[in-house]
Symmetry: C2
Subunit: 115 residues, 2 copies
Amino acid sequence: MDDITILQAEVLRTLASPRRLEILHALAKGPLEVGHLAEAMGMSQPNASQHLAVLRTAGIVEAERDGREVRYRLVDPDVTVACDLMRSVLKRRLNRLGAIAAEGGASPLLTSATR
Amino acid sequence: MDDITILQAEVLRTLASPRRLEILHALAKGPLEVGHLAEAMGMSQPNASQHLAVLRTAGIVEAERDGREVRYRLVDPDVTVACDLMRSVLKRRLNRLGAIAAEGGASPLLTSATR
DNA sequence: GGCACTCATCAGCACGTGCGCATATGTCGA
DNA sequence: TCGACATATGCGCACGTGCTGATGAGTGCC
Protein backbone atom coordinates (compact mmCIF):
# COMPACT_ATOMS: atom_id res chain seq x y z
CA MET A 1 0.00 0.00 0.00
CA ASP A 2 1.13 3.55 -0.68
CA ASP A 3 3.04 5.26 2.13
CA ILE A 4 1.45 8.62 1.45
CA THR A 5 -1.99 7.05 1.63
CA ILE A 6 -1.24 5.66 5.09
CA LEU A 7 0.24 8.99 6.19
CA GLN A 8 -2.78 10.84 4.86
CA ALA A 9 -5.11 8.46 6.69
CA GLU A 10 -3.26 9.20 9.93
CA VAL A 11 -3.53 12.94 9.42
CA LEU A 12 -7.21 12.60 8.57
CA ARG A 13 -7.78 10.48 11.63
CA THR A 14 -6.04 13.14 13.66
CA LEU A 15 -8.40 15.77 12.28
CA ALA A 16 -11.48 13.55 12.54
CA SER A 17 -12.53 15.00 15.86
CA PRO A 18 -14.85 17.98 16.41
CA ARG A 19 -12.74 19.06 19.34
CA ARG A 20 -9.53 19.07 17.36
CA LEU A 21 -11.19 20.83 14.44
CA GLU A 22 -12.35 23.51 16.85
CA ILE A 23 -8.83 23.76 18.20
CA LEU A 24 -7.49 24.21 14.69
CA HIS A 25 -10.13 26.79 14.01
CA ALA A 26 -9.16 28.66 17.15
CA LEU A 27 -5.44 28.44 16.43
CA ALA A 28 -6.03 29.73 12.91
CA LYS A 29 -6.76 33.12 14.45
CA GLY A 30 -3.48 33.09 16.32
CA PRO A 31 -1.36 31.18 18.85
CA LEU A 32 -2.97 30.22 22.15
CA GLU A 33 -1.97 28.80 25.54
CA VAL A 34 -3.33 25.49 26.79
CA GLY A 35 -5.37 26.96 29.60
CA HIS A 36 -6.99 29.65 27.48
CA LEU A 37 -7.79 27.08 24.84
CA ALA A 38 -9.34 24.70 27.38
CA GLU A 39 -11.41 27.47 28.90
CA ALA A 40 -12.44 28.93 25.55
CA MET A 41 -14.01 25.67 24.38
CA GLY A 42 -15.16 24.33 27.71
CA MET A 43 -13.00 21.28 28.05
CA SER A 44 -10.84 20.09 30.91
CA GLN A 45 -7.17 21.00 30.92
CA PRO A 46 -5.87 17.40 30.61
CA ASN A 47 -8.25 16.80 27.73
CA ALA A 48 -7.04 19.87 25.87
CA SER A 49 -3.45 18.88 26.53
CA GLN A 50 -4.06 15.40 25.14
CA HIS A 51 -5.70 16.73 21.99
CA LEU A 52 -2.82 19.14 21.51
CA ALA A 53 -0.36 16.30 21.99
CA VAL A 54 -2.13 14.33 19.27
CA LEU A 55 -2.03 17.32 16.93
CA ARG A 56 1.62 17.87 17.76
CA THR A 57 2.56 14.25 17.14
CA ALA A 58 0.95 14.51 13.73
CA GLY A 59 3.03 17.61 13.03
CA ILE A 60 0.01 19.86 12.65
CA VAL A 61 0.76 22.20 15.56
CA GLU A 62 3.92 23.09 17.41
CA ALA A 63 4.54 24.21 20.99
CA GLU A 64 6.63 27.04 22.38
CA ARG A 65 7.34 27.71 26.03
CA ASP A 66 6.70 31.19 27.40
CA GLY A 67 7.35 31.27 31.13
CA ARG A 68 5.15 28.68 32.73
CA GLU A 69 2.70 28.71 29.87
CA VAL A 70 3.01 26.82 26.61
CA ARG A 71 1.81 28.53 23.47
CA TYR A 72 0.59 26.39 20.58
CA ARG A 73 0.47 27.49 16.97
CA LEU A 74 -0.22 25.99 13.57
CA VAL A 75 2.83 24.61 11.77
CA ASP A 76 1.57 24.89 8.23
CA PRO A 77 -1.51 26.86 7.14
CA ASP A 78 -1.81 24.63 4.09
CA VAL A 79 -3.46 21.88 6.08
CA THR A 80 -6.11 24.29 7.29
CA VAL A 81 -6.53 25.48 3.73
CA ALA A 82 -7.48 21.94 2.75
CA CYS A 83 -9.77 21.79 5.78
CA ASP A 84 -11.44 25.07 4.87
CA LEU A 85 -11.89 23.88 1.31
CA MET A 86 -13.64 20.76 2.56
CA ARG A 87 -15.60 22.92 4.95
CA SER A 88 -16.87 25.15 2.19
CA VAL A 89 -17.78 22.12 0.11
CA LEU A 90 -19.83 20.77 3.01
CA LYS A 91 -21.44 24.15 3.55
CA ARG A 92 -22.51 24.28 -0.07
CA ARG A 93 -23.85 20.76 0.23
CA LEU A 94 -25.76 21.52 3.39
CA ASN A 95 -27.45 24.48 1.78
CA ARG A 96 -28.28 22.53 -1.36
CA LEU A 97 -29.53 19.50 0.54
CA GLY A 98 -31.31 21.67 3.05
CA ALA A 99 -33.34 23.16 0.24
CA ILE A 100 -34.17 19.67 -1.02
CA ALA A 101 -35.00 18.42 2.46
CA ALA A 102 -37.36 21.36 2.91
CA GLU A 103 -39.60 19.86 0.25
CA GLY A 104 -39.56 16.38 1.76
CA GLY A 105 -36.44 14.76 0.36
CA ALA A 106 -34.20 12.77 2.71
CA SER A 107 -30.44 12.93 2.53
CA PRO A 108 -27.81 10.49 3.76
CA LEU A 109 -25.55 13.38 4.60
CA LEU A 110 -27.95 14.66 7.20
CA THR A 111 -28.97 11.40 8.84
CA SER A 112 -26.33 11.71 11.51
CA ALA A 113 -25.87 15.45 11.50
CA THR A 114 -29.45 16.36 12.33
CA ARG A 115 -30.15 13.48 14.69
CA MET B 1 -20.69 23.29 18.93
CA ASP B 2 -20.93 24.09 15.25
CA ASP B 3 -22.97 21.67 13.15
CA ILE B 4 -20.61 21.94 10.20
CA THR B 5 -17.68 21.12 12.42
CA ILE B 6 -19.37 17.91 13.56
CA LEU B 7 -20.33 17.05 10.00
CA GLN B 8 -16.80 17.71 8.82
CA ALA B 9 -15.41 15.51 11.58
CA GLU B 10 -17.68 12.68 10.45
CA VAL B 11 -16.58 13.04 6.84
CA LEU B 12 -12.93 13.14 7.95
CA ARG B 13 -13.44 10.09 10.09
CA THR B 14 -14.99 8.36 7.10
CA LEU B 15 -11.92 9.19 5.02
CA ALA B 16 -9.46 8.36 7.80
CA SER B 17 -8.85 4.86 6.54
CA PRO B 18 -6.14 3.78 4.08
CA ARG B 19 -8.56 1.31 2.54
CA ARG B 20 -11.23 3.90 1.92
CA LEU B 21 -8.69 6.39 0.59
CA GLU B 22 -7.55 3.73 -1.85
CA ILE B 23 -11.15 3.11 -2.81
CA LEU B 24 -11.64 6.83 -3.46
CA HIS B 25 -8.44 6.90 -5.45
CA ALA B 26 -9.66 3.97 -7.53
CA LEU B 27 -13.13 5.46 -8.03
CA ALA B 28 -11.58 8.75 -9.11
CA LYS B 29 -10.52 7.02 -12.33
CA GLY B 30 -14.06 5.89 -12.97
CA PRO B 31 -17.02 3.90 -11.57
CA LEU B 32 -16.33 0.35 -10.38
CA GLU B 33 -18.26 -2.73 -9.27
CA VAL B 34 -17.86 -4.16 -5.79
CA GLY B 35 -16.20 -7.39 -6.89
CA HIS B 36 -13.70 -5.67 -9.17
CA LEU B 37 -12.88 -3.22 -6.43
CA ALA B 38 -12.38 -5.96 -3.86
CA GLU B 39 -10.17 -7.95 -6.21
CA ALA B 40 -8.20 -4.91 -7.34
CA MET B 41 -7.10 -4.03 -3.81
CA GLY B 42 -6.93 -7.50 -2.34
CA MET B 43 -9.72 -7.32 0.20
CA SER B 44 -12.62 -9.66 0.85
CA GLN B 45 -15.94 -8.91 -0.78
CA PRO B 46 -17.85 -8.29 2.48
CA ASN B 47 -15.10 -5.99 3.66
CA ALA B 48 -15.24 -3.96 0.45
CA SER B 49 -19.01 -3.82 0.69
CA GLN B 50 -18.81 -2.54 4.26
CA HIS B 51 -16.34 0.19 3.36
CA LEU B 52 -18.52 1.21 0.45
CA ALA B 53 -21.53 1.31 2.75
CA VAL B 54 -19.67 3.65 5.08
CA LEU B 55 -18.69 5.90 2.18
CA ARG B 56 -22.25 5.84 0.89
CA THR B 57 -23.75 6.70 4.26
CA ALA B 58 -21.43 9.69 4.41
CA GLY B 59 -22.69 10.75 0.99
CA ILE B 60 -19.27 10.45 -0.62
CA VAL B 61 -20.12 7.72 -3.10
CA GLU B 62 -23.36 6.56 -4.66
CA ALA B 63 -24.47 3.16 -5.96
CA GLU B 64 -26.20 2.21 -9.17
CA ARG B 65 -27.49 -1.23 -10.03
CA ASP B 66 -26.49 -2.78 -13.35
CA GLY B 67 -27.89 -6.27 -13.60
CA ARG B 68 -26.66 -8.24 -10.65
CA GLU B 69 -23.69 -5.98 -10.18
CA VAL B 70 -23.67 -2.67 -8.32
CA ARG B 71 -21.52 0.09 -9.69
CA TYR B 72 -20.16 2.70 -7.31
CA ARG B 73 -19.09 6.18 -8.27
CA LEU B 74 -18.03 9.40 -6.60
CA VAL B 75 -20.86 11.81 -5.83
CA ASP B 76 -18.86 15.00 -5.81
CA PRO B 77 -15.29 15.37 -7.10
CA ASP B 78 -14.81 18.36 -4.82
CA VAL B 79 -14.17 16.14 -1.82
CA THR B 80 -11.42 14.35 -3.67
CA VAL B 81 -10.03 17.72 -4.71
CA ALA B 82 -9.63 18.57 -1.03
CA CYS B 83 -8.08 15.15 -0.50
CA ASP B 84 -5.63 15.62 -3.35
CA LEU B 85 -4.73 19.05 -2.03
CA MET B 86 -3.92 17.56 1.36
CA ARG B 87 -2.10 14.75 -0.41
CA SER B 88 0.14 17.15 -2.28
CA VAL B 89 0.81 19.08 0.90
CA LEU B 90 1.92 15.87 2.59
CA LYS B 91 4.05 14.93 -0.40
CA ARG B 92 5.82 18.26 -0.24
CA ARG B 93 6.34 17.79 3.47
CA LEU B 94 7.68 14.29 3.06
CA ASN B 95 10.22 15.45 0.51
CA ARG B 96 11.26 18.44 2.62
CA LEU B 97 11.47 16.42 5.83
CA GLY B 98 13.14 13.56 4.04
CA ALA B 99 15.95 15.89 3.05
CA ILE B 100 16.27 17.08 6.65
CA ALA B 101 16.13 13.52 7.99
CA ALA B 102 18.93 12.56 5.60
CA GLU B 103 21.27 14.76 7.58
CA GLY B 104 20.25 13.39 10.95
CA GLY B 105 17.21 15.43 11.92
CA ALA B 106 14.22 13.66 13.43
CA SER B 107 10.67 14.56 12.50
CA PRO B 108 7.40 13.89 14.31
CA LEU B 109 5.68 13.44 10.98
CA LEU B 110 7.80 10.43 10.18
CA THR B 111 7.77 8.71 13.53
CA SER B 112 4.74 6.65 12.62
CA ALA B 113 5.14 6.61 8.87
CA THR B 114 8.60 5.07 8.76
CA ARG B 115 8.22 2.72 11.70
C1' DG C 1 13.78 26.50 49.57
C1' DG C 2 8.77 26.51 49.58
C1' DC C 3 4.53 27.51 47.32
C1' DA C 4 1.31 28.45 43.62
C1' DC C 5 0.48 27.83 38.99
C1' DT C 6 0.60 25.70 34.24
C1' DC C 7 0.99 21.88 31.68
C1' DA C 8 1.95 16.80 30.77
C1' DT C 9 1.19 12.08 31.75
C1' DC C 10 -0.83 7.92 33.75
C1' DA C 11 -4.55 4.58 34.93
C1' DG C 12 -9.07 3.04 34.20
C1' DC C 13 -13.41 2.60 31.99
C1' DA C 14 -16.87 3.00 28.30
C1' DC C 15 -17.49 3.04 23.64
C1' DG C 16 -16.85 2.70 18.71
C1' DT C 17 -14.58 0.38 14.69
C1' DG C 18 -12.45 -2.95 11.54
C1' DC C 19 -11.96 -7.54 10.33
C1' DG C 20 -13.26 -12.51 9.27
C1' DC C 21 -16.87 -15.57 8.95
C1' DA C 22 -21.43 -17.16 8.06
C1' DT C 23 -25.63 -16.02 6.02
C1' DA C 24 -29.46 -13.31 3.99
C1' DT C 25 -31.08 -10.61 -0.09
C1' DG C 26 -31.34 -9.68 -4.83
C1' DT C 27 -30.75 -10.77 -9.86
C1' DC C 28 -30.15 -13.38 -14.04
C1' DG C 29 -30.16 -17.64 -16.88
C1' DA C 30 -31.83 -22.41 -17.79
C1' DT D 1 -38.80 -22.41 -10.07
C1' DC D 2 -34.19 -23.65 -9.19
C1' DG D 3 -29.35 -22.85 -9.13
C1' DA D 4 -25.41 -19.73 -9.73
C1' DC D 5 -23.57 -15.42 -9.08
C1' DA D 6 -23.05 -10.55 -6.95
C1' DT D 7 -23.81 -7.95 -3.10
C1' DA D 8 -25.47 -6.82 1.59
C1' DT D 9 -25.99 -7.76 6.43
C1' DG D 10 -25.44 -9.76 11.10
C1' DC D 11 -22.36 -11.60 14.66
C1' DG D 12 -18.37 -11.95 17.53
C1' DC D 13 -13.83 -10.66 18.76
C1' DA D 14 -9.69 -7.86 19.11
C1' DC D 15 -8.10 -3.42 19.21
C1' DG D 16 -7.80 1.59 19.37
C1' DT D 17 -9.64 6.03 21.22
C1' DG D 18 -11.73 9.66 24.15
C1' DC D 19 -12.90 11.20 28.61
C1' DT D 20 -12.36 11.71 33.73
C1' DG D 21 -9.69 11.84 37.90
C1' DA D 22 -5.27 11.73 40.08
C1' DT D 23 -0.52 12.52 39.91
C1' DG D 24 4.01 14.01 38.14
C1' DA D 25 7.13 17.54 35.95
C1' DG D 26 8.50 22.23 34.93
C1' DT D 27 8.48 27.32 36.05
C1' DG D 28 8.17 31.78 38.43
C1' DC D 29 7.37 34.44 42.69
C1' DC D 30 7.92 35.10 47.62
